[in-house]
Symmetry: C2
Subunit: 405 residues, 2 copies
Amino acid sequence: MTGDIQKVDGGITAPQGFVAAGVHAGLKKEKKDLALIVSEVPAAAAAVYTRNRVKAAPLIVTKEHLKTGIARAIVCNSGNANACTGERGYRDAREMAAITAEAIGCEPWQVVVASTGVIGVPLPMNKISAGIRAAVEKLAVDGGSDAAAAIMTTDTRKKEIAVQLPLGGATVTIAGIAKGSGMIHPNMGTMLCFLTTDAAMEQHDLDQALRAVVDRTFNMVTVDGDTSTNDMAVILANGCAGNAPLTIEDHAAFRAGLEYVCRHLARLIARDGEGATKLITVEVRRAASEAEARIVARAVAGSNLVKSAIFGADANWGRILCAAGYSGAEIDPERVDIYLESRAGCEQMAMDGEPLPFSEEKAAAILREEEITITLDLNQGTATATAWGCDLTYDYVKINASYRT
Amino acid sequence: MTGDIQKVDGGITAPQGFVAAGVHAGLKKEKKDLALIVSEVPAAAAAVYTRNRVKAAPLIVTKEHLKTGIARAIVCNSGNANACTGERGYRDAREMAAITAEAIGCEPWQVVVASTGVIGVPLPMNKISAGIRAAVEKLAVDGGSDAAAAIMTTDTRKKEIAVQLPLGGATVTIAGIAKGSGMIHPNMGTMLCFLTTDAAMEQHDLDQALRAVVDRTFNMVTVDGDTSTNDMAVILANGCAGNAPLTIEDHAAFRAGLEYVCRHLARLIARDGEGATKLITVEVRRAASEAEARIVARAVAGSNLVKSAIFGADANWGRILCAAGYSGAEIDPERVDIYLESRAGCEQMAMDGEPLPFSEEKAAAILREEEITITLDLNQGTATATAWGCDLTYDYVKINASYRT
């Protein structure tokens, strides 16, 4: 099915009926820090949220709003998370929705609110308010890239993608922007992802598709093991493509398209982890179940020792097996095969849990590449899973030793 | 009860009837790498092991041996973990026990075997064998400190302590040596602890005391979130103090003494975490249960973001609350109070989950000290827990980017 999916330009505003903008509201020193995405017509909307018990105010407000399953706009600021800000935080998040609603002409409950940045500092609402009004002025069909820039925190590059596929007799576009960087971990550590599509579909189906895809993509990304207070992934489907009601096959095709988009963004998030120099993909094969495969893949991708070894191009495969061992999955260590692979080649490091003779030079050459795949073959069943992570570097420590100051 | 506990000199050989040695067998370049601890008479023995599913050969062999609950000696090499070494690994571990048994005159099953170091490389048995014989020659009542040196890997300092307390009409001594550094995490990441006591006590009581104390001490230490294949804590009680059978009060006094020893070693392990510059103690107060208190304390002590912030003396308390939020404990974020404390003073950062105005200068001064306490008051119940960790530094990455090479 993936054969029908074509990448297209235009980012978050590639789907019909969407406009966006990104402006500098003044929360960050110079960079864009307020994004606005608007659908010209009410859209079916679905979202998934952080599982952290400490939930930022904008999440709580968005959850209330999306009970209706309908939205017109997403407003998001960076530079301030509006988390741990008490009653005032809720008032400010509601106010963000109200100002947006008034400016674009919709109901406040049709606005999704998101924030990312430092915790525990109240939002400067005068700046936010002026920023929203400035963004509304700039709303445009080519504003997607500015919106992608405005949600960045320590991200070093914008994360956006759009794809098209045939669906229900029409050409449907699915697009997304995301921010990641620090605090990324299964269950959506400080990750924001905003998705748009012009597909016409039921809210329930949209919700199911989003949950399934997030489990296989964003929830398989780990940067530093911390899970944030502010994560969410939101999708708006405004129906402007004019497709016929979806068949079961169409639903599968839509999910494939959505997974393509989210997988692309998930990889970008891992590759752009704070201080990262390498993307690490962990493939687990022949696990007893998909749940076990995921647990192992995430444990390996999340191990500080594995991440440090990859940074140093040190083929310390014992740490890979060790991480699989403490993952909680019921692996049989004496059946595990381990491979390292990159553009520079592939080398098997261990068979049945025991070391194989390998060329240190070739292994080091493999690990010096920027994209590395670690494969664990558990020899237990037929299930597979993929997780994405990055190396642990001096710069990760540097960035996080002085984030606030 | 702690009032009766007195620190004494002599380390692992302070208890009567123990001798020890540490020698250079040649697994490391220059440093001591083989330790031997011997009780002059058969001792009651108990042990706890790593929960990693990948268990190194020496652990499997020691577990078999200790089914008898009796031991005469502990032999441990550093520089090579004898893990992921297949059938040969088991043979080598058994051989280590056999060589030791022959040299000191006991049965092979009376020997505890331990290894620590690189994974996946077979032990050089000729060096081990010669090393054991050299160690036997050097066994002495003042050899404890050499043994403490010989079990070190990336540790920067020896970890040893001995205490005395009155028990059953006699003066009983309890002592321990430990190694830690990388891969330290709840459930005993590459941690070895060898404990000796001249108390006379039943094996069952010794076992219960060890398990209870390890849960409150070593299992509350986290350095990098990885759990090793080789961890164990072993205690030998040889009865040479000649105390009367222990009463219930005596058992409590013994546990207090053992906890004093293990708590001291746990703090040393955290303080000496790879690349660490600071000891972080996390105190959780007024939790709903001890289990919840422990979960929260460990999550905060284990958060890469908290650890990086402490390294940078950045009072980013939002990350502390955030870590408590994702710990899995059922905390109420809106009731949590957070304090930072060190020799430089104490400052409350948050009350009821919301920021308090605080002096950045005073907070930075607090965090510039080498020993920092983070206190979370959950305002939910009466349970408490303490976890120990360290900051995440450039040097952690440096050490682990090139451990093997």
